[in-house]
């Protein structure tokens, strides 16, 4: 049967099996390719999206279980205040290398900061350790989240 998904404020009808992972409905049916496939078993976080504001791994979230929840992906997270600040901090800290995991990193970080505007390092670890980066951008991701937590007066780490 067809499922109606609310993605980034728009409704889409996807005619797929109930157990189809949301990831593939987003990428292959709806055509929003910003959400990435990394492991398929909720180990790497590359596929992270928001379901009613909660970060979920779309590779193990079925279309059926998404139900009527508001789904937000990387393509729209910049329209939120926190999401936009995360994207800007990512650029200011020069976090990104290959970039493949960064959609998921940004979605996880945005959910973290929505929940907890000034996370401690342990808070950052607890949430962000679910997102793997093979380019090794972890120190800069931490710096970017700290920058946002510290507020607008915080300047970019000095270039040495």
């Amino acid at each position: 049967m067809a499922y109606s998904l609310n993605v980034n404020g728009k409704n889409y009808s996807v005619d797929v099996d109930a157990d189809t992972p949301l990831l593939w409905a987003l990428r292959d049916v709806i055509g929003l390719t910003g959400t990435k496939f990394g492991c398929g078993v909720a180990q790497c976080g590359a596929c992270t999206v928001h379901l009613d504001g909660q970060a979920v791994r779309s590779c193990v979230t079925t279309v059926e279980s998404a139900g009527t929840a508001a789904i937000m992906t990387i393509e729209a997270v910049g329209s939120t205040q926190v999401g936009n600040r995360v994207q800007q901090a990512w650029l200011e800290q020069e976090v990104v290398q290959c970039g493949y995991c960064q959609s998921g990193q940004i979605m996880s970080a945005t959910a973290l900061l929505n929940e907890n505007p000034s996370p401690s390092d342990d808070d950052i670890d607890a949430v962000m350790s679910g997102n793997i980066c093979r380019c090794g951008t972890y120190p800069r991701i931490r710096a970017a989240i700290r920058q946002i937590a510290a507020g607008p007066g915080f300047h970019r780490r000095r270039l040495r």
């Binding site: 496939f37 180990q43 994207q87 970039g99 972890y138």
Partner: protein, 718 residues
């Protein structure tokens, strides 16, 4: 000097550098042309790197692929510096697959790897920019009837200094293309650089924070289908039989494709394809390697230590020195099989038609991918178009194009474009592996405790025999033995190579850090063992051996200073040092570890100091060193694949873990200012990590580790 650097120097010196110009689509195309003796007759072998449209952004064509290493930024900076344009006036575009035009000057093929991109393009790209600028100035001067010397270029315009008149490059294109191409336009001295060496934001990253960047997996040609693939789990095995009915019952599945060694399920979306594939019960002929175990391979590699060796490096008289000096250390270092686990799993999208073939893929070898598609389809190579995408990590994995071959074979049985997606498990179980390595290191000490003889026997595969045969000489893989001789002043040194290949059907390839990553544990572990035997501090010991290597010594001092070497690291803690001279660069690394009595290991901090010559972009350099360190940490701590019944056991991040945020140490990167020619940075951070950690663990616990990964060793206090 690294193996890749050696070949580069040799081939560049045999070539002359010319500049040519053509008009293409209303744009000025300016290109440096590398003409070697064999190519001199071919006047059409252009390599266009700059396109100046009449209006809008200037296109810089980037011959190397962007896989995170910042090459769009690096090569654009070189071109823009001499072209006199700002980075916000340009757009970087991927070069098409065309080795005749876009071959790397040192590698002789369209390859992105070996940390040679900047080294090879450092001069040609600046020369291309300078020549174009000179012609644009000449065109403007002609327009105004003034002498070119009275004009200057700035931010995409030519300005007549006296009158203040100005013309944009786009308005000068047509005239400039009719002018003679000047030869040997002088390049700016470093003191006049406006862009090179200055902090500037990467140009490829804005698209990577909003989901719009297109990786291989994001290719969406119209009407594309999606395929999940299962490849025979045993190396060299074949498909026996499969009943396709269960897959075809899955909604959205269109077809089951049988290949001699794989099965692919084609569907409307990847979810259906994966579900259909999972529904199949595939019978495989396991083949000659069907009973293989990791234990057998490990024993075979150990036995090869006593196999026939070829001498790869010989200096002084090692035999005589060993006969005179019995005191020393002899140790065997063992490295496991490693996967690459790029974040983006292997994938490739192919559309095979009777009259042509389109391939969408992120590859480090676009030319080889194009040739392979042509060979498989029987199409002329010019009918194959490679649409190169951003790479979701390379690390050497995408130097092999086996995935392209597999996808073309699937696509030959599908109407319309098909995206073939490997699961993470397939990606791990069908990698181009960093194969087993063994090193026996024998260092003899003189009466003062300092080394008088250095013998290093390396057991490993000869990847270059198939990958880049120019680096396979007299039976020796020049990459595998790279840096095995160490940077240290020792009167007698010998490096021996024993070729030891993986079983047939198991693809082995290049892995970040290539040869130096194989050799660093034995070299830096060995010298640490020698220092301990001599009773001399490991940093001081190394310093004394670097009298002829001031750049290496300087980064050692810089890293040791910043790491607080010599100060008490605290209870249960230890520091270890490792050096690397490779890729035309120098790196020193100090790791600090905390080993609890229960054996728990925490890597607390890594301090790196690097000298990579002139820096093109300081922050990209830091990024790359940090990246290399984290990649090396994952491998040092966890990297190891095992084999049972002929198949790789591990398959995903749960059983083949990589470093996560909570385990990531503090990383400090210190850069030595240098005016020397640029060295490589993409792989510089990786090789030293494992030995620095091994040496730190020794300092903390007294346990000398000689096998990786570290997670397999019991570090509990005795």
């Amino acid at each position: 000097m690294s193996a890749f650097a050696r070949i580069g120097t040799a081939s560049l010196s045999r070539r002359t550098f010319l500049i040519s110009v053509v008009l293409a689509g209303g744009s000025l195309v300016i290109a440096p042309r590398l003409v070697g003796p064999a190519q001199a007759a071919d006047a059409t072998a252009l390599t266009p790197f700059i396109r100046i449209p009449p209006a809008g952004k200037i296109e810089l064509v980037i011959a190397s692929v962007e896989m995170g290493q910042g090459v769009y930024m690096g090569l654009s900076t070189l071109l823009a510096e001499e072209l006199e344009v700002r980075l916000n006036q340009i757009v970087a575009v991927a070069a098409p697959a065309d080795p005749a035009r876009y071959a790397h000057p040192m590698l002789g093929d369209q390859i992105t790897g070996g940390s040679v991109t900047i080294r090879g393009f450092w001069e040609p790209m600046r020369q291309a920019g300078a020549t174009a600028r000179s012609m644009l100035i000449a065109a403007a001067a002609d327009e105004w009837g003034v002498a070119p010397a009275t004009c200057r270029a700035e931010a995409g315009e030519v300005i007549h200094t006296a009158s203040g008149r100005r013309l944009a490059y786009g308005a000068l294109v047509d005239k400039a293309a009719t002018l003679p191409v000047p030869q040997g336009v002088a390049l700016k001295p470093a003191s006049e650089f406006q862009l090179i060496g200055k902090p500037a934001r990467r140009i490829d990253t804005p698209a990577k924070v909003n989901g719009s960047a297109k990786f291989g997996l994001d290719a969406r040609p119209a009407e594309a289908k999606f395929a999940a693939i299962a490849i025979c789990p045993t190396f060299g095995g074949t498909l026996q039989s499969v009943d396709e009915a269960p897959a075809l019952k899955v909604k959205g599945v269109r077809k089951v494709v049988r290949l001699s060694d794989a099965v692919a399920v084609v569907a409307d979306h990847t979810g259906a394809a994966r579900k259909g594939l999972a529904a199949l019960d595939i019978a495989w002929n396991r083949g000659a390697n069907g009973d293989l175990t990791i234990g057998e391979l490990e024993r075979s590699a150990d036995a090869a230590l006593d196999g026939t060796a070829r001498v790869a490096f010989d200096q002084g008289d090692v035999d005589a020195a060993e006969a005179r000096h019995p005191r020393g250390i002899e140790a065997i270092y063992r490295l496991p099989i490693l996967p690459h686990t790029t974040m983006e799993p292997m994938n490739c999208t192919v559309h095979v038609r009777p009259d042509g073939c389109d391939v969408w893929v992120g590859t480090q070898v676009a030319g080889r991918a194009r040739q392979a598609a042509a060979d498989l389809t029987g199409l002329p190579v010019e009918k194959v178009v490679i649409h190169n995408q951003f790479l979701g990590g390379g690390f050497g994995r995408r130097l092999d194009h086996d995935v392209v071959i597999m996808a073309v074979r699937v696509a030959q049985q599908v109407d319309g474009p098909v995206q073939v997606v490997w699961s993470r498990e397939e990606d791990v179980r069908h990698d181009s592996y960093r194969y087993l390595n063994r090193s026996r290191i024998d260092i003899r000490l003189g009466p003062d405790g300092m080394p008088v003889s250095w013998r290093h026997r390396v057991v490993g595969p000869a990847i270059m025999a198939r990958f880049l045969p120019v680096l396979f000489k007299d039976g020796i893989d020049l990459d595998i033995v790279d840096a095995a001789e160490s940077p240290y002043d020792v009167a007698s040194k010998r490096v021996e190579f024993v070729r030891h290949e993986a079983p047939d059907g198991m693809l082995t390839g290049n892995w970040r850090g290539v040869g130096p990553t194989r050799n660093a544990p034995a070299v830096e572990g060995g010298i640490d063992e020698a220092a301990h035997l001599a009773g001399i501090d490991p940093v001081e010991y190394r310093r004394r051996l670097l009298g002829n290597n001031p750049r290496m010594k300087a980064v050692l001092d810089l890293a040791a200073d910043h790491a607080g070497w010599g100060r008490d690291p605290g209870a249960e803690r230890g520091r270890g040092v490792a050096l690397l001279s490779a890729f035309g660069s120098f790196a020193a690394m100090v790791a600090q570890v905390h080993v609890r009595p229960d054996g728990t290991l925490k890597v607390e901090r890594i301090v790196a100091a690097v000298d990579c010559g002139l820096v093109v972009n300081p922050d990209v350099l830091r990024q790359q060193v940090e990246s290399g360190i984290v990649y090396g940490l994952s491998a040092a701590l966890y990297g190891r694949l095992t084999i049972e019944q002929g198949a790789i056991v591990e398959g995903n991040f749960d059983d083949q873990p990589v470093l996560r945020m909570n385990e990531c140490p503090l990383i400090d990167v210190h850069v030595m200012a240098s005016a020397e020619a640029p060295g490589g940075i993409g792989e510089l951070g990786t090789p030293g990590v494992a030995p620095a950690l091994m040496n730190a663990i020794f300092a903390a616990t007294g346990k000398r580790l000689r096998s990786l990964p570290l997670a397999t060793t019991d570090l509990r206090g005795s």
